[in-house]
Subunit: 216 residues, 2 copies
Amino acid sequence: MTERILYDYFRSSAAYRVRIALNLKELDYIQAPVSLVKGEQQGAAYLALNPQGLVPALSDNGVLLTQSLAICEYLDEAYPDTPRLLPLEPVARARARAIAQSIACDIHPLNNLRVLNYLKGELGVGDESRNEWYRHWITQGFAALERLLADTAGSYCVGDNVTLADVCLVPQLFNARRFAVDLAPYPRLVAVGEALERLPAFAAAHPSRQPDTPPA
Amino acid sequence: MTERILYDYFRSSAAYRVRIALNLKELDYIQAPVSLVKGEQQGAAYLALNPQGLVPALSDNGVLLTQSLAICEYLDEAYPDTPRLLPLEPVARARARAIAQSIACDIHPLNNLRVLNYLKGELGVGDESRNEWYRHWITQGFAALERLLADTAGSYCVGDNVTLADVCLVPQLFNARRFAVDLAPYPRLVAVGEALERLPAFAAAHPSRQPDTPPA
């Protein structure tokens, strides 16, 4: 019997991506919450499991996997018989990966909790400047993505099938809304995001619906 | 006849990765330098080509590709008959990708020129604190990588074949040395890096040997 454990945190964007991917791939999993706010990701128990001290990690039948995009691609390759997260044609795959990475490499790392904590603690950057920092990297990244999607999008980021690009877009839109970023300049991103959020795989992965989500 | 143009900058880590990958894949290319210091990546001509305004981009027979890791994986999939950048087995692929992404998502984005410029310009962070910021993210990331490689490394990051992980490691070690990060705590990374730097594909991609490298 398959045992699949996702080391998870309800509000982690990277964990949110893996939840969506697992749902799209129709794979069962148990969630093991790791509280980033309490610092559990730096505790000895979790570090023994994942020396990077970052969430998410996925244990798939005893094999521990890290890095959200690497986990998603692993799921796609290890379980090819459920819906594909990447198209089969090399250029289309490159388009989906480029959009995913423009979020995962150019936007999200700058807005991580550990980075905001460093800005506040070590550099003494105040609340308003930290929020501006957050919004700056999102708006710069979203402006580029909005132009990119003019060439690639159908119903979703790349054509009419859900891909790894969509898996990354929805959590980033959630973050943007949380920090009150004005999304009016990005109508394509918003339209694609709304179409995606209606799909059960995305809805079930939402941060408001996880085992460790605090009561409203 | 194949036309392959790499939009490049000698000191860009992400471009350095793609140069290594093209060399490992034994693919010819023309280099078109885009000066990040002069801001050419934000000029109208380059933005028309790559709306993200980031280097590198690769034109492969007229198809424009962006994001360094997406480009590397495209090369591996579109040209399967030259040496592979990823192993064939899903767990080994996931290991190589996780190491690549721990550099490309968790270390490098925080130390980009555009980020250092924002710290200086918008946040007024001084030289010494900016250098500490730079070193902080490298040392945190390298400490995790050093532990990871205990499980995965052979001669190179993942076993005894060069992979996408190695393509990312060497440029990140170059950056670390440039900012005088003490590498003594990371003997595995240093040993693997030295083995890689001896390979012609890596040596030819070094920032000191590019068409736009300034005279010494």
